[in-house]
Point group: C2
Chain length 368, copies 2
């Protein structure tokens, strides 16, 4: 194997697949990256058996071949090379690669490519496309509510569900629930639903572009494939039944307030500085034309914040974990948010003021 490749392109590809390299593995080959020539490109693959990422980089292929190189060393070497033109030669008889760039030369020991696991082929009728920026926004508005409680695996991912005319992404850790909906019209796959692991959603959202380029998604019983901008990502799905989130979304409310989002976020952030470290509780008092946030750490002091609001329904008071409240305010895109409450012991609902596309449910905390 022998290729000539641009450092910039090569490094971009290595960084992309690196996200799937296994950090703690009993299978040493998974700490490596597979390099394989294919026509006028080199294919890079990494996988930890949960998620696999494949990326093609244009190269001048002088001699075909494939090898697995240790990701950590290989990545840092390519990062530090000064010239743009890299010549990579692999001696497949002893699984050694030589990297030459300007006056620098590295020999590194690799592993035979046939020991590297193949990414599964996905062949499915549940196949659709959407804009990259829409999928990225959906994931970012939902992923922080995913649970990390491995005793309930069905909560450690986001639910992707096809409803009539809508595609939903929902996540909950039982303390809060985040729900995002986009229009989607594919009668043939109504009712299908899968749970996508947290890590997969995270890595995808980092790799997706903020534009209207398409991402192609295919789903089988236990796997999901994303294909966009030259990247292919295959991930396992999570087994199990996602909770009935519809039951959790309150149908009515006694109090409805329209609040400037940035003011609410900044006030909550400041008040939380004086919220107890463990529970992080702030109290919110909703009055006819103002919202008062208070927090208190007896040995340190108190915080008091006032925001003008427009309220319909009853005045009320509720206590929240400040972090949970801030999480949703950071991802809502509208200038104002709607806060709907039904007393201090019922879940609060926060919505994007522009419609019902984004809904966040937050459980109240009993204060004092």
């Amino acid at each position: 194997m022998r290729i000539e490749i641009s450092k910039k392109d090569f490094f971009e590809g290595i960084q992309t697949v690196n996200r799937a390299v296994s950090s703690k593995t009993t299978l040493p080959i998974l700490s490596g990256i597979l390099l394989k020539t294919e026509e006028d490109k080199i294919k890079l693959v990494a996988t930890d058996l949960e998620i696999g990422i494949e990326f093609y980089v244009k190269a001048n292929i002088i001699r075909d071949g494939a090898i697995v190189l240790p990701a950590k060393y290989f990545t840092s070497i390519v990062r530090e090379l000064s010239d743009d033109q890299i010549i990579l030669t692999a001696d497949l008889s002893n699984n050694t690669a030589q990297i030459k760039c300007g006056q620098a030369q590295f020999n590194i020991h690799g592993s035979p490519s046939d020991e590297f696991p193949l990414l599964p082929k996905i062949n499915s009728k549940t196949r659709f496309t959407m804009y990259q920026n829409i999928l990225k926004e959906m994931i970012n508005q939902v992923k922080f509510a995913i649970s990390d409680d491995i005793s309930k695996p069905f909560l450690t991912g986001g639910l992707l569900k096809f409803e009539e005319k809508n595609l939903l992404l929902v996540a909950t850790d039982t303390y809060r629930l985040s729900y995002r909906r986009v229009s989607f019209d594919r009668k043939d796959i109504i009712g299908e639903e899968v749970i996508i692991p947290n890590k997969t959603l995270n890595e995808i959202s980092k790799l997706l572009n903020d534009n209207e380029d398409l991402v192609e998604i295919s789903i089988t019983d236990n796997q999901i494939l994303f294909k966009f901008s030259g990247v292919t990502i295959v991930s396992r799905l999570i087994d199990g039944q996602f909770p009935n989130y519809k039951q959790v979304i309150p149908k009515k409310n006694n109090t409805k307030a329209i609040i400037n989002k940035v003011e609410l976020l900044n006030s909550t952030k400041r008040a939380s500085l004086l919220a107890k470290r463990d529970s992080n509780i702030i109290k919110i008092n909703l009055q006819e034309d103002q919202l008062i946030i208070t927090a208190n750490v007896p040995e340190i002091g108190q915080a008091y914040e006032r925001i003008s609001i427009s309220l319909t329904g009853q005045e009320t008071e509720i206590a929240f974990n400040a972090t949970y409240l801030m999480d949703c305010l950071k991802v809502i895109t509208s200038e104002e948010v709607i806060l709907e409450l039904s007393g201090s012991l019922s879940p609060g609902v926060i919505k994007d003021s522009s419609g019902d596309e984004y809904i966040y449910i937050i459980m109240p905390v009993r204060s004092n």
Copy 2:
């Protein structure tokens, strides 16, 4: 006590003195910042008893007074305030401060100001000024060689020494020595020398500007004071006898090479990727017109780097800890460096090519 103050100025001042706030202290008041009105300013003071920092911020003083506020909470509150105008009121009868800014209001418990230790008054005949940018460069070229071995306290700081016509700053951890000299003509203080603690040099170099504004320095037997840009820093000095660094600087050499600094730095950085983690050894082979760097981790691979050089004297080979070599190359300002060697077991000397103002001595490592 009651003041009106700009958030920006106040926060800048708090951040400056924060560097001296004690992070682990048995004396709780040292985790606070002293605020004290003085004419049309507010004085901020923090100290961990080793180093003390004082900073004045312009304010509208409505009522005089002084209080100590917990640095961590106080800093994060001021950081998060949205408006520029802050009103700070302290009730000295119960040592509580109220911070008001826009619709935000905080009450925090403080401590009485008279429990806060006073910074010592420095009155000394050893008093001089220099440009801030020169002092900053001197410290940055030397501080990384300071030892952290507390069993030899006299090595845990930098030696500041007045010689005939020169002012020196020198540091060594016995593996390498860094020496910087600037012209200085004050016959009355020739021969004086003090050891300034690592932390003090570090904090000062961060606060000094990159310009020719003056810094005023005063030295007593056990303390040093720096005054610049509104900041006053008082630090204890380290007791003990600094080693005779003159003995360490080789007087002659058998090999002298002129090397491009950036090429040497980049090649060393790359080669060190394949140097053993613990010892970080790279080998340097000096030939008539080239320098070869090699490194080797048997289970991973080898690195080989070549740089064109101009050599006088004998060809030779030497092994260094790559980190020690890179440390000095990062702070040398000339385009080329001079490497002087006397065989593979004698210390190497690296100089700024523009003169003898900067000298770095590095002990060789026995390889294989």
